[in-house]
Symmetry: C2
């Protein structure tokens, strides 16, 4: 039996150890990764994938924790992927967040993974996508993808989810401005967390103002208030997430998102594979000499790349 076939059964049964190993395989480009993904592919598409995004300090971890526990209380299996794009540098820096989620971590029906990989092959967005697929195949009902902020990488991550919750908090006056209109196009739900603080009304007004400025979309993202630390607003949030899921289903949104995801994955895999293949053909010494020539300003990068491709 091949290694990937050995992993397949425990994975499909939802065993956490198999899941953890499979995610690492994907991140590290293990030889069995491709075979495993091929075997799992027909089983995908069952899980609800929900994104929780927002600036540092917005309380995303606590909110995610509460969502997970509420869904768990309904008998669901819940996967949590905490995406931290700062950690290509440091690795494991997300520890603090995970400690905050300690109550969840003890529950075998909740699987938590920090996508804090140091240079995962193909980038964080693809590693996260792979992990979503693995959790999906392993029978997790809802997958919560928690991601900080608004970088390109997060945008790619967020484009993988079905329902994206954008979390804001009162008292970060500049934040709304900083988040800007861009976030409007990814938000399916706005959550004003820590809504017991002063300024929640202003945040809501700011959101409504942004909404009125942006083009009309078929789904009008609702604005909710939560105090995650006290569990306030969580049932309402879950209800709205479900409502959005049903709306997606009724309006062909799931197929559209599936196509977007397929395109992103295809493009990122192709870029990596085509590039690796090209480098392998000319060999590492040629590549290193080319990079050095660029650094020394003897040659420009465009011409080095063109020459490499001409050699194939």
């Amino acid at each position: 039996m091949s290694p990937s076939a050995e992993l397949l059964e425990p994975l499909r049964r939802g065993e956490a150890r198999a899941l953890g190993r499979a995610i690492s395989w994907m991140e590290n480009g293990h030889p069995g990764a491709r075979e495993l993904m091929s075997a799992l592919w027909p089983h995908l598409g069952r899980a609800a994938v929900v994104g929780i995004t927002g600036s540092p300090g917005a309380g995303k971890s606590t909110l995610t924790d509460q969502l997970a526990r509420a869904l768990r209380a309904e008998g669901q299996k819940v996967g949590i992927l905490a995406v931290d794009p700062t950690s290509p540098f440091s690795g494991g820096a997300i520890l603090g967040d995970r400690i905050r989620m300690g109550r969840c971590a003890a529950d075998p029906g909740i699987f938590i993974r920090s996508m804090a990989t140091r240079g995962a092959l193909g980038g964080l967005a693809r590693a996260t996508q792979d992990a979503i697929d693995l959790l999906d195949a392993a029978g997790y009902d809802t997958i919560l993808v928690e991601t900080v902020g608004v970088g390109q990488d997060e945008v790619d991550v967020v484009s993988c989810v079905q329902t994206c919750c954008v979390v804001l908090v009162p008292g970060m006056g500049d934040e709304i401005q900083a988040i800007k209109a861009g976030i409007m196009e990814v938000a399916d739900l706005f959550v004003i967390n820590k809504a017991d603080r002063d300024g929640a009304d202003q945040v809501e007004q700011g959101i409504e103002a942004m909404k009125s400025l942006s083009c009309v979309r078929p789904w009008d993202p609702p604005v909710l208030r939560t105090v995650a630390q006290q569990g306030q607003g969580i049932p309402e949030l879950i209800a709205r997430i479900r409502e959005h899921g049903l709306w997606l289903r009724a309006h062909g949104g799931l197929e559209r998102k599936a196509r977007e995801r397929a395109r992103l994955r295809f493009e990122s895999l192709l870029a990596e594979a085509a590039s690796r293949r090209a480098k392998a053909r000319v060999g590492a010494p040629w590549v290193e000499a080319g990079i050095q020539a660029i650094a020394d300003r003897v040659r420009d990068p465009y011409s080095v790349v063109a020459e490499l491709l001409d050699k194939l």
Copy 2:
């Protein structure tokens, strides 16, 4: 005379219009872009490239504005690139920031460009890198690269600069925690902005604590205080930026950074070019059918990509 040759001379003279056009060429993959970059390549490497990074609301725009004006007062030509990764979605959303920098915008010795491109070819990091090179070739003495936050894209942007200033503010308690150890490895200077607010001491203690936890680096990043809106601390900041530049020069840091930049550019150009070439070989209908099969879960992305590459 080829279009790129026509652009070359006004660009080398530092004319803003030529510069704006050349940046757009690079972003859009204009046919003349490659030739232009080849012609400029030997002229690069003169400018000081300084990154200003930090969370939304930290006052990066004001700080950048003040830095630009102070350098301008010394007679320097200053380029400002405001990188906003949220705008792949919305484009032009950075307008608010630019209005805040209105005083700079009127000065012909300061060139301002928002890198808020909707899906620039090869991503925002490469578009920014191209713009840095163009400003460098156009004779700008200092290039300030202002970028929000901590995503992978920003990390790539920041790895292009010579001196990276990380801007923090008092009163965002969770922020330090959120920024985490990751930022330690990109920070060459810490700036506590809005330092007249309560809590500046705590921010400084937080930074020092992070520094003590991370591995010892040959350059110990200093911690400065500014009140950018009043221009306080700007001369000191400029002095420290210069000090870091001299340190880099003395310790082979410039060559090391040049090599890193060369590698990033080579890899991203190659991935894009190799991928484009592969898709062109099989044709768009084949690609679209493959993506649809992935979306429909008939085939997995790994096998579609493998088949495509086997066809070449």
